[in-house]
Symmetry: C2
Subunit: 146 residues, 2 copies
DNA sequence: TGATGAAATATCGCACGCGATATAAAATTG
DNA sequence: CAATTTTATATCGCGTGCGATATTTCATCA
């Protein structure tokens, strides 16, 4: 059994990669109604939890780089969801704030998690297993981040 | 506790999304030595396990669409790793085959899984937990695929 | 057998995602 | 305080990833 370690079925990383894309696909029809992409939805979740944050705060929470987040935020500004003002205390920094429209969207978005849970069909994995999955992934993430 | 379901920390999907990207980042320095990207490495794994397959086989195994895979394969053809011949029995189909160079690369690639495991630092999650994680993800994937 | 539908792959446009690099402002340091 | 380093964000180029649509060939069926 040479090269056993190179088989797809023996990989942990591939299921994570595949699951990530499948989940994004499952979200998309729901998010279309909010005119958001999945990464944009994540940014909104950060802001709904904590308005008026720096770009750095967003990159940290979402574990993304500025070269991903800056254009993302610009598109969201065009959509009228956020503003990107320069910080008054530190001219290098930008303060990202929700607009009225962005804040309002939260009400519609509140339905999304439940709708997604239905799409994922809880039958295959029960709540405890989902929580266990989440915790293991979070530990894996911490391990990789060092 | 309004909008509790919209908090990042309560999501399962976000850790999957984040872990996927972190893993790809961790792979990249190792794959750079083989001049491969992570998706290209996945295609190679499919072919090393089963040479001479159709585009459809690859899209099925990797759960990707043709509009992702076709350009991916074209780039890999330019790299001299594969060939893309039209099938003789069905002119619509293409047979993807490894070149000598592509086949040879397997020897170097065989080291990658171990090198990655070291990078991910097994300390945080032990082998049994990793296997459990993999199995839960595979069940989740099956559930989403319906 | 000719029309009609299905299957396999490809093209287009757009939004990420990131390594490498740039720019400007703040912090540090000699 | 001027020079240097660090920090925060932005730009560039390229490779995915995918919805929508097109193209070519095969299968089916009236």
């Amino acid at each position: 059994m040479e090269y056993e370690q190179l088989k797809l079925g023996n990989q942990v990383c591939f299921p994570i990669y595949a699951a990530s894309r499948l989940i994004t696909r499952a979200y998309q029809p729901l998010l279309d109604q909010l005119d958001l992409t999945y990464p944009q939805y994540l940014v909104m979740m950060v802001l709904w939890e904590n308005d008026q944050v720096s770009v750095n705060t967003i990159t940290d929470k979402l574990i993304l780089n500025t070269n991903t987040v800056t254009p993302l935020l610009k598109r969201m500004e065009v959509l009228g969801l956020i503003t990107r003002k320069r910080s008054e205390t530190d001219e290098r920094s930008r303060t990202i704030s929700l607009t009225e429209k962005g804040l309002k969207l939260r009400e519609q978005a509140a339905l999304v998690p439940m709708q997604l849970a239905e799409k994922l069909d809880v039958g295959e994995l029960n709540i405890d297993e989902i929580i266990d999955l989440r915790d293991k992934l979070n530990r894996l993430i911490e391990a990789i981040k060092n």
